[in-house]
């Protein structure tokens, strides 16, 4: 009956029916599209969820492996460090290639900043590992009879290392050395902005190291976020302050300690130098530290120069001459300056120069093209311009002139604490004032960047330039928990240690805490009267 009724209605109201059919069809299409969309979203969510579940499983397996105690063995640590050494020795050409692809680095620069420095650090760790791993006896006062105490280094557990794109090999491996030496299991997330280096590490690390305890996980912000949701025993991050804040806030949820290696505007004070030799050397070192370390894209690279007004013309002239000898007439063809990492950063740097007042302060540059920016010198750009407010992280070098070189101290103090401070001076009293009146991660006199190579110095920032320090023994410490251990014998217990309390016992405690051994004896022999207390 119903079947029959339908055509009748259909005939009667044909137009409507057609309209409705169209509507239904459209509704159906829409629904289908929505369905598809929902399907895609669900699929996406499912995939994401699945990835998260996989990640959790993977990390659980790594924790299990850590619990087995393998990573704690000195032999495991040594084998991994040797593996890293072998990786660097056997793949040098490939490392040169990936660094060329990602950043246009010259092999000499690549070797100096990323391969050589890392090999040196690994050798240092191998030479000192035994000493670092051993417990340290703690001194005790005589009151602590028959007690021994020691500080025992123990690994933290499963740690996460997030590295940056500017020294994508060096800044990935340097923290790993510390994490391995301290006996942790670890995940490395290299920066996705240096893709060739990232995939090189993801490919080679499992081939040379124990992949049960050491993993590389590649990816961008989404993967980074997923990793940060997990519970780690330490997060070691190298990068910008903005992301550093996110990392630390995520770590707070799990009470995870963090090391944040950030940057900042590192100033170079150039005092008036009377000897022409000194000036020349100073300028060479400044230019080397600015343009030949990843084209200024280095956290300890020189950001700007502070100089006395009367000295600056000499300085600028010399800089121009030296730039020519270092990089030739056409710096681009010398292949001695790295390129800007990507278009985004290229535009950011160009934007810094867009301010007409800043543009007017340029004294040396050439045309920039593609993602290559020529070494550019500026004199006295406005202090409130972006170039003097943000970390430059590129081959632009502002020179700020001051009346007196001593004014540089106030200039630096009124800004966020930098990762490094450089000063070229022979004036002892200025040096002293710089050390005691300014604050920075490190201070280097008459040179730049070399602090990165010293295994005996802590490398790290303060304030906005970071939290924590590493390199050499400090890397080991950063990934170690120093466990306090005290051993007691059952033999000696002062009877006055336990309640019920009385004045006599109180008096004995007074002597003990003041290490007044004679007083203890006198009170025990009842030759000294206890001080009365009101409570009892």
């Amino acid at each position: 009956m119903i079947w029959r009724a339908q055509p009748i209605i259909g005939i009667k109201t044909g137009g409507w029916k057609r309209r409705e059919e169209g509507y239904i069809q459209r509704l159906y299409d829409k629904n289908q599209a929505a369905n598809n969309f929902a399907h895609i979203i669900t699929h996406h969510l499912v995939v994401r969820r699945q990835k998260m579940v996989d990640l959790e499983k993977e990390l659980a397996a790594m924790r299990e492996y850590y619990s087995s105690g393998n990573t704690r063995d000195a032999s495991w640590r040594r084998a991994q460090l040797r593996g890293l050494l072998l990786l660097l020795h056997e793949n040098q050409t490939e490392i040169f290639n990936v660094l060329k692809q990602d950043l246009g680095k010259h092999p000499a620069e690549a070797y100096r900043d990323e391969i050589g420095s890392t090999i040196k650090s690994i050798n240092y760790a191998l030479d000192n590992l035994k000493g670092w791993m051993s417990s340290e006896k703690a001194k005790l006062p005589k009151v602590a009879l028959l007690t021994t105490a020691a500080i025992v280094p123990e690994p933290l557990g499963l740690v996460l290392v997030i590295s940056s794109w500017n020294f994508p090999i060096g800044l990935s491996i340097e923290p790993l050395i510390g994490a391995i030496a301290a006996g942790n299991s670890m995940v490395l997330k290299p920066s996705e902005l240096a893709p060739s280096c990232s995939s090189f590490l993801a490919q080679k690390i499992p081939a040379y190291l124990d992949s049960n305890g050491i993993k590389v996980i590649e990816g961008g912000p989404t993967v980074g976020e997923q990793l940060l949701q997990q519970k780690w025993d330490k997060i070691f991050f190298t990068g910008s302050a903005g992301v550093g804040r996110i990392v630390m806030a995520a770590a707070a949820k799990h009470l995870t300690p963090v090391t944040l290696e950030l940057g900042g505007k590192c100033p170079a004070i150039v005092d008036f130098l009377s000897s022409s030799w000194d000036i020349e050397v100073a300028v060479e070192r400044v230019l080397g530290a600015k343009f030949s370390a990843c084209a200024g894209q280095a956290c300890i690279g020189i950001d700007y120069i502070l100089v006395e007004k009367k000295f600056y013309p000499t300085l600028v002239e010399l800089i121009k001459i030296k730039l020519k000898t270092m990089f030739g007439e056409n710096p681009r063809d010398s292949h001695s300056v790295a390129r800007i990492i990507n278009r985004h950063h290229f535009l950011r740097l160009k934007c810094l120069l867009d301010d007409p007042n800043v543009r007017a302060s340029i004294v040396h540059t050439k045309k920039s093209q593609e993602v290559y920016i020529e070494p550019t010198i500026l004199v006295d750009p406005p202090l409130e311009s972006m170039i003097m407010e943000d970390e430059i992280f590129g081959p632009l070098l502002p020179i700020i002139t001051l009346q007196k070189i001593e004014d540089s101290i106030e200039f630096i103090r009124s800004r966020p604490k930098p990762l490094s401070l450089y000063a070229f001076t022979n004036d002892r009293s200025l040096r002293k004032r710089i050390i005691s009146e300014t604050s920075s991660g490190s201070v280097v006199f008459n040179d730049a960047l070399i602090q990165y190579l010293a295994d005996t110095l802590p490398f790290g920032g303060i304030g906005d330039s970071g939290i924590g320090r590493y390199h050499g023994k400090f890397s080991f410490d950063e990934f170690t928990h120093y466990k306090a251990v005290a051993w007691r014998s059952f033999l000696v217990d002062f009877w006055f240690r336990f309640p019920p309390w009385n004045d006599h016992k109180l008096q004995l405690f007074r002597h003990c805490y003041e290490y007044d051994y004679l007083g203890v004896i006198l009170t025990v022999l009842r030759l000294k009267k206890p001080k009365p207390s009101s409570a009892s």
Partner: protein, 493 residues
Amino acid sequence: MGGEKEETSSKPAFDVGAASELVGKLRGAFASGKTRSYQWRESQLKGLLKMTEEHEQEIADALHSDLAKPELESYIYEAAMLKNSCRLALKELKRWMVPEKAKTSLTTFPSSAEIVPEPLGVVLIISAWNYPYLLSLDPVVGAIAAGNALVLKPSEIAPATSSLLAKLMGEYLDTSCIRVVEGAVPETTALLEQKWDKIFYTGNGKIGRIIMAAAAKHLTPVALELGGKSPVVVDSGIDLKVSCRRIIAGKWGCNNGQACISPDYVITTREHAPKVVDALKQELEKFYGKNPLESKDLSRIVNSNHFFRLSKLLDDDKVSGKVVHGGEKDQSKLRIAPTLLLDVPRDALIMQEEIFGPLLPILTVDKIEDSFDVINSGMKPLAAYLFTNNKKLREEFVMSVSAGGLVVNDTTVHLAILSLPFGGVGESGIGAYHGKFSFDAFSHKKAVVYRGFMGDAAIRYPPYTKMKLRLLKALITGNFFAIIRAIFGLSKD
């Protein structure tokens, strides 16, 4: 508490504006460089010492009012420990302040280098109510020794000590650089919105997370001194009487179990457990008499919130039949007797959170070695204790149990050893202090390198050549012969 409220309402509220003004003033004082001098640090430490010596009785009275703390406990754990910290800092300060020479290598030759300790700036110390005097001032000793300006926020849950600290510190210390802000959540929130150069917090993990998240906004480093369930493993074949005395001293003799390093639970073997219980019972009676609710040698529970929290742990169905000693409560006096619970199931409420009170559950295992798995399956505690004569067990304990600190054959004594770092790991905290470690916790280790203008190798700078690469390889790895080979062009690669 009522009087406290009236007082705060008459004063203008300490809000974000007031907090930022305070920090601004302190930043100005710090910038003047005053706090950096040895003389200032010395005078402030002497001030703290003098303040503690001259007001010992008032301190004991305040602690008695807040916690009914026995005077001797106040003396040992609060006044005397603080005085010791001050004395050690005064004795060692000059040495701590001296820059440390660092060796330099062939790679950076010729140069010299040192590590210079410098103050962090203006720091915030937030302390706890259980040892309200010591835990407020012990970090202050470190902050002063390192040359910082600081704000101390004592706990509002120990109001008498909080107001005593505010009064005394105003009299004895330099108020242009050292300030006390009293208050509860609103005041703390206002303080946490400011930018500090370090936040040092003592308390629980929940607030610790809030502190660290607030610190993250300003990239402020934190030290978090938290707690956790600190276990005591009791092996057989030991001097049980001495062991139980030492457990009691660490548990009930430390603020009636309201201490971050107090033993939280005992693990022993099934057959040894009755002996442990008997010995504990016996010694408890010797110490605190037949009616411990009346004992003057036990602190009370700090407030009714905590009293109810502890009562709830005891009322849990899973443990109600497990009490083998004690269990008496007096709500009007906020007192709970030392209580032993035997064979508590591990999923009971009392085994899920830090007890922080006079209840001591005893877990049993088949073999004593199994106890390490029990400990390692939970969060990392602030302390772990083991009583044994077995050398192998002792070694395994030190190797496999992770905790802030370990003590073999005693409890809590590591706290008093100033040559040991005191602090947690994992859930029990971040960072360590005491003695030199306190100085370090509030210092920045600045690396300083000195170079002359001589001895520069052209190879460091562009234009780069093959020869430069070869020399660099040799130089950076510090291989002397390779350097010579490279210079003379004898290198193979």
